[in-house]
């Protein structure tokens, strides 16, 4: 039954039909599936299936990525509020766009995806100075800083990821906090993440969920 729900839910998401996706979830709840099972046995597996499809060259478009992340995070929020006990949070991520960058869409897709994977997201917003990323990571005990850039010059800027790396190095935090980057310039140059000294990159907002989750799990070992 859960497999059938996952399939129907994902079909609705890929058809960018939020109403249909929500109806499938609400119907499942009405039929007795617990909120915990909705999150852990429907939303998370559905998101993971989506990540797998995208990594295997399923040609999803930006609207589908947006819809998938927004619906998943909306369902997760709704269900978590009904949990019997507080859920276990996988880890915490600090998220923002790089210095000088005002583009919000990619960051929002990443945030929705991460929240549906039970990763806490501290969204600092846009045009974030490097120092603020690091301070927030220390304040919230986050193991990952995720920096989104939509423009080449904001990705490569000395005030962006490179500066975050420099601060982490100077404060001996490189073992405790990893940097993940993403956004259009990285898609056009897959080696760019190395040039800006990030630890990892993700090709799209949904894949970022996988990359960040794996990084958090690895650091927790």
């Amino acid at each position: 039954m859960l497999t059938k729900i996952i399939t129907a839910y994902n079909e609705a998401v890929f058809d960018t039909d939020r109403d249909q996706a929500l109806e499938i979830i609400h119907q499942a709840v009405a039929e007795g599936i617990t909120p915990e099972d909705i999150v852990f046995k429907v939303v998370i597996p559905a998101m993971e299936l989506m990540i797998k499809s995208i990594s295997e060259d399923f040609d999803a478009n930006l609207a589908q990525h947006f819809m998938a992340s927004q619906i998943a995070s909306q369902v997760t929020d709704e269900m978590v509020a009904k949990f019997q006990t507080s859920p276990h949070v996988v880890g915490t991520v600090i998220l923002g766009t790089s210095h000088g960058d005002m583009h919000t869409l990619g960051k929002r897709i990443v945030s929705g995806c991460l929240r549906s994977l039970m990763i806490e997201v501290v969204d600092l917003g846009v045009n974030i100075p490097a120092e603020q990323f690091v301070e927030a990571a220390l304040t919230h005990n986050a193991s990952v800083i995720a920096i989104s850039s939509m423009m080449m010059h904001t990705a490569r800027s000395e005030l962006g990821c490179l500066k975050v790396r420099e601060i982490l190095k100077n404060k001996n935090l490189e073992d405790k906090i990893k940097i993940v980057v993403g956004g259009a310039p990285y898609r056009w140059d897959p080696h760019l993440y190395q040039a800006v000294q990030a630890d990892a990159w993700a090709e799209d907002g949904i894949t970022a969920g996988k990359v960040i989750k794996e990084l958090i799990m690895e650091m927790q070992k």
Binding site: M102, R108, H153, A195
Partner: protein, 344 residues
Amino acid sequence: MMTGMDRIVAALNGEKSDRIPVFCNLLDQGAKELGIATLQEYYSKGEYVAQAQLKMREKYGYDNLWSLFYVGKEAELLGCKKIIYATDGPPNVEHFVISTYDDIAKLEIPTDLINHPAFAQERICLEILSREAKGKYPICAYLTASMTLPALLMGMDKWFDLLFFGPTDVRDELLRKCSAFFHQEVAAYRQAGADIILYANPFGSTDFIPMKQFNQLSMPWMKKDLQPGGVADVVYYCGSSRMNNVIKPVVEQLAIQTFYLSPNDDVAIGKQNVAGQGLTWGVINDILLIDWTEQEVRAEVKRIIEAGMAGGKFGFGTLVMPYKIPEQNIRAMLDAAYEFGRYA
């Protein structure tokens, strides 16, 4: 002597000139070329932009001129009050004109754009370019489609919210206003001397939206944008997004004849889709020009031109060349394009 306009006209007609037309989209580099310290100062005067465009075209020998300052200019024409400037990249919209749905009702579309104060510097730029180069080198204008303009006015994620989750009457009101603005803008640019209208619309690509929404939303709004003024000078451009699987419906339903592919489009397939009915541009991933060796640049230019040049009706072009590309790589790219794009 053969001019850029000669090459474009020949390519459009399926005739051979000395070589294929080559477009190189240098914008922010103009400040460095004129020795102007900041991009803010450079973009404050139409004279600067026009002078730099003429100077860079002369220096490198490519075939086009730009009247575009930066993309956020369109938002300024609609009330944007703050642009964020960088030292090494394009200016970025900081103030969004629309922050609530009520702002959409209040949004006013200028009715006499050519005389609008926010258009004054572009008009000066176009006047100089027309005076110096009209008929010799095509003057390009960059206009954002009604489906994409809301992203400049409210931010892309808020536009996605409205587009997919918001009230359709509010969405349609915004699209109507953006389309009305496009009509004003295209008329003003044509009147001021633009020869080529680059119709910028990432929402005209299925990299952005599913085919169903392309057919139900993008196509009808593109028709509304383009039908009043015609499409003879219009170039279909989806930013860096792919267009190969929409070329056929665009040719059939909009009659657009020129397609500026994404670097991620297969050039040969793009040309096949245009099917001799127009001009196809093979476009290089110019972000990689920052770090590539001259040999790598040359090899990639060769690959693109070889994929599209046979049978003519083909040009070579760039996206918006990042500021950090070293000059020797700009030269390497253009030299290769002139060499491999030469008709025997």
